[in-house]
C-alpha cells in the first residue's frame, strides 16, 4: 500500500542552520499522526514542506506515490489548518470556506452548497455571514477546519491547531477533531509541542528533536518503551537514574547500586533507567524488600494535587519523584521520614543517553 505521505532522506537547511536533518517517515492513509517536539525541533518545517510552503534542500517527498518535492502549494492536494488559523479578515465565514473552491474554478452555486454543507458539519450554521473577528477562538478554529476540508484534500495538515485555545475548549476540540478525522477518513498530520495532546489524540507519534526524528510509534510504545533518554524525559514525567549496563538483566547505577533491568545494550554502555513516578511505590524502610528493584531515601517534599500526592525523595545524588493516588486509608509520610522506593522490575525501561 502506498503511504499517504512519504519522506525519504529529507533535509532542510536555512542558510547554515539545519532545520530538518535527513528524516525518513511514512504516514499511512487514514492515520491520525502527530509530530511532537519542543519548539525549534523541525516539526513545523517538516509540515510546511509537506504543504509545499517550504521546499526541501535534499531528499524525496511524495504524496500517494507522486513526487511533490518542489511542486507549488496550490498544486498539491493537501490543505493546512494554520497555527493562528490565518482566516481572511476581509471575507465572511462563507467566503473563507469557499475560497479554495473559488480558486479552483468550481462554479458559484456548487461552491456555495459545498461550503454550506461543510459549515454545517462543523456546526457553524447561522454564522456564515459573520467576519472572523466577530467569532470566538473555538469558532474560528472550526472555520479553519471547514475551509481546509471543503477541498477534500488527500491529507489534512494541522499546525498547533489547539494552541490558541484555553484548556477546557482544548479538551473538547481534541475529541471533536478525533471524531472528525474518523468521519472524513483521510489522514490528519498535526504538529504539537504538547505531549499530552499527542498521546490522547494520535494513532502514531513522531518525536523530533534538533531536526532529527527520534522515534515513530504508537502512544503506548512511546510511553512504555521510549527510544532514548530525550523521548523518555519529554513524554510524561519520569525519573532518570544514570548508570552502566552490566549484563542483559542488570544496570549498575553511578553510585554502584545494582538494579535489575532488562536491556539489549552491550555491557559497559552508559544508559539511564526510566522510572515513571506513578509506577514507583513508597513504603516504610525495611530489610525485606528486593534490593534489586528498590532504593532507600528520605522524604524531602510533598506536593498535594487533590487526586494524588507527589513525594520528592532524596536518594544519594539525586531526587526522585513518586506519585501516589489519593485513596482512602493510604499511609502518609512526613518530610524527613526514611523510606523505600520500589517498583516491579518490568515496569521500568532502560534508555540510551
Amino acid at each position: 500500500m502506498t503511504a499517504a505521505v512519504e519522506l525519504k532522506a529529507i533535509t532542510k537547511k536555512f542558510g547554515d542552520v539545519v532545520a530538518v536533518d535527513n528524516v525518513d517517515l511514512a504516514i499511512e492513509d487514514g492515520e491520525f499522526f502527530a509530530m511532537l517536539g519542543p519548539s525549534g525541533c523541525g516539526k513545523t518545517t517538516t509540515l510546511r514542506m509537506i504543504a509545499g510552503l517550504e521546499f526541501p534542500t535534499q531528499g524525496s517527498l511524495s504524496i500517494f506515490g507522486e513526487e511533490v518535492g518542489t511542486l507549488a502549494p496550490n498544486k498539491r492536494s493537501v490543505n493546512t489548518v494554520f497555527q493562528n488559523y490565518a482566516l481572511f479578515p476581509h471575507l465572511t465565514v462563507l467566503e473563507n470556506v469557499g475560497f479554495g473552491l473559488k480558486m479552483q474554478g468550481v462554479d458559484k452555486s456548487e461552491t456555495r452548497s459545498r461550503s454550506m454543507e461543510m459549515i454545517e458539519l462543523v456546526q457553524l450554521e447561522g454564522l456564515e455571514d459573520r467576519k472572523p473577528s466577530q467569532m470566538s477562538g473555538g469558532q474560528q478554529q472550526r472555520v479553519a477546519l471547514a475551509r481546509a476540508l471543503v477541498n477534500q484534500p488527500k491529507v489534512l495538515l494541522l499546525d498547533e491547531p489547539l494552541g490558541a485555545l484555553d484548556q477546557k475548549l482544548r479538551q473538547e476540540m481534541q475529541l471533536e477533531l478525533k471524531k472528525l478525522q474518523r468521519d472524513v477518513g483521510i489522514s490528519f498530520v498535526f504538529v504539537t509541542h504538547d505531549q499530552e495532546e499527542a498521546l490522547t489524540m494520535s494513532d502514531r507519534i513522531a518525536v523530533m528533536h534538533e531536526g532529527k526524528l527520534l522515534q515513530v510509534a504508537t502512544p503506548e510504545e512511546i510511553y512504555e518503551t521510549p527510544a532514548n533518554r530525550f523521548v523518555a524525559d519529554f513524554i510524561g514525567r519520569t525519573n532518570l537514574l544514570e548508570g552502566t549496563v552490566s549484563d542483559s538483566e542488570t544496570v549498575i547505577l553511578t553510585n554502584g547500586t545494582p538494579i535489575r533491568a532488562h536491556s539489549n545494550f552491550a555491557a559497559g554502555t552508559r544508559v539511564s533507567i526510566s522510572i515513571r513516578p506513578e509506577r514507583a511505590k513508597i513504603s516504610q524502610q525495611n530489610e525485606d524488600g528486593n534490593p534489586l528493584s528498590s532504593v532507600n531515601g528520605t522524604v524531602e517534599t510533598i506536593t498535594y494535587l487533590g487526586n494524588a500526592r507527589v513525594y520528592g525523595v532524596k536518594f544519594t545524588w539525586m531526587s526522585l519523584e513518586v506519585r501516589e493516588e489519593n485513596r482512602p486509608g493510604i499511609e502518609l509520610y512526613e518530610p524527613g521520614t526514611p523510606i523505600t522506593v520500589s517498583w516491579d522490575h518490568d515496569a521500568i525501561s532502560v534508555v540510551a543517553d
Binding site: L53, N74, F82, A86, L87, F88, P89, F99, M103, Q104
Partner: protein, 276 residues
C-alpha cells in the same frame, strides 16, 4: 494603549495649561487667516466687515485658476504613478529577497532624508543637462513644465508611498498569503484576493500623502518649472514675496480647505486600517 500616571498638584496644572496653549498656538493663526479672508479691508489683518470679494478675485484671476488646475492635474498624475511604483517597491522589499535589495532599500530612503533645497538643485541641474542632451542628439526643444514637475514629484513620492505601504504589509500576517496559496490560489490570485484587500488602507494612506506633498511643494517645483508654467503654491509664494494682499488670504483658505479634505479622507483610511 496604556495610560500614563498623571502627576498631582502644580505639575498637573502646568501640564493642562501647556496642553491648551499648544492647541491655541496650532489653531489661532489658522482661525485668524480664515477670518481675515472675509474681511472687507485692503489691509490684511484688519477687520473691515464681511465680504466675499477676495474669493471673487480668485475666481476672476485666470492666473490663479490656471495655477490651481495645474496643481490638481500634476497631483493626480503624481499620485497614480507614485502609488503604483511605491506599492511595487514595498511588495518587493517586504515579501522577497533579491540581489541588490539592500542598496535599493537605502536608495529608497534617500529622497525622504534629503532636504528639499538639495533635491531641487539636483533636479534643476539634471533637467538642464538632460534637455541639452536631447537637443544635441535629436534636436528636441523641450520646455520645462508639466512633465518636469510631475517627474520630480514622483521621484520623492515613491519613497513616501513605499514606507507607508511597507508598514501595512509588515503588520499583515504572512500566514494569510500562505493560506491562500495552500487553498489553490496562484501567486497572482493570492495577491488579488488576499494581499491587496489587506493593504488597501495603506495604499490609500500613501496616495493621500503623495497628493498632499505634491500639492504643497514649493521649493522643488519652483526649480523645475518652466516659463509661464506655475502651480498654486509657487504662484502664492510669488505673490507673498511681492507683498501681502487679501487675495492671498482667500487662496490660502482654499488651499487650507483642500488640505482639510485630505485630512478627513486620511482619517477614514486610518479607521479602515484599524478596523482591518
Amino acid at each position: 494603549m496604556s495610560t500614563a500616571v498623571e502627576p498631582r498638584g502644580w505639575a498637573k496644572a502646568a501640564l493642562h495649561v501647556n496642553g491648551w496653549l499648544v492647541y491655541i498656538f496650532f489653531y489661532a493663526p489658522i482661525a485668524l487667516l480664515v477670518l481675515f479672508s472675509f474681511s472687507d479691508n485692503r489691509n490684511v489683518g484688519i477687520w473691515g466687515g464681511f465680504t466675499l470679494d477676495w474669493y471673487q478675485d480668485f475666481f476672476d484671476s485666470s492666473n490663479a485658476r490656471g495655477a490651481l488646475s495645474n496643481s490638481v492635474k500634476i497631483a493626480i498624475v503624481v499620485t497614480i504613478i507614485s502609488v503604483i511604483l511605491g506599492t511595487m517597491s514595498a511588495l518587493a522589499l517586504e515579501r522577497f529577497t533579491f540581489r541588490g535589495k539592500k542598496v535599493f532599500d537605502a536608495l529608497l530612503y534617500l529622497p525622504i532624508i534629503i532636504p528639499d533645497v538639495t533635491m531641487a538643485v539636483m533636479l534643476l541641474l539634471f533637467f538642464g543637462e538632460f534637455f541639452d542632451l536631447l537637443d544635441m542628439l535629436f534636436g528636441l526643444q523641450l520646455r520645462k513644465g508639466f512633465w518636469s514637475i510631475t517627474i520630480s514629484h514622483i521621484a520623492f513620492n515613491i519613497s513616501f508611498v513605499s514606507v507607508i505601504v511597507r508598514a501595512r504589509l509588515s503588520g499583515m500576517n504572512t500566514n494569510l498569503e500562505e493560506a491562500a496559496v495552500d487553498l489553490y490560489a496562484s501567486r497572482w490570485k493570492a495577491f488579488r484576493h488576499v494581499t491587496f484587500p489587506q493593504i488597501v488602507p495603506g495604499i490609500a494612506g500613501g496616495a493621500l500623502l503623495a497628493m498632499t506633498l505634491s500639492l504643497d511643494d514649493v521649493v522643488i517645483t519652483q526649480f523645475v518649472t518652466g516659463p509661464g508654467w506655475t502651480t498654486l503654491p509657487v504662484y502664492v509664494f510669488g505673490l507673498i514675496r511681492k507683498g501681502v494682499t487679501p487675495l492671498i488670504n482667500s487662496i490660502s483658505v482654499i488651499m487650507l480647505l483642500a488640505s482639510m479634505l485630505l485630512v478627513v479622507l486620511s482619517l477614514f483610511a486610518e479607521r479602515a486600517r484599524r478596523g482591518g
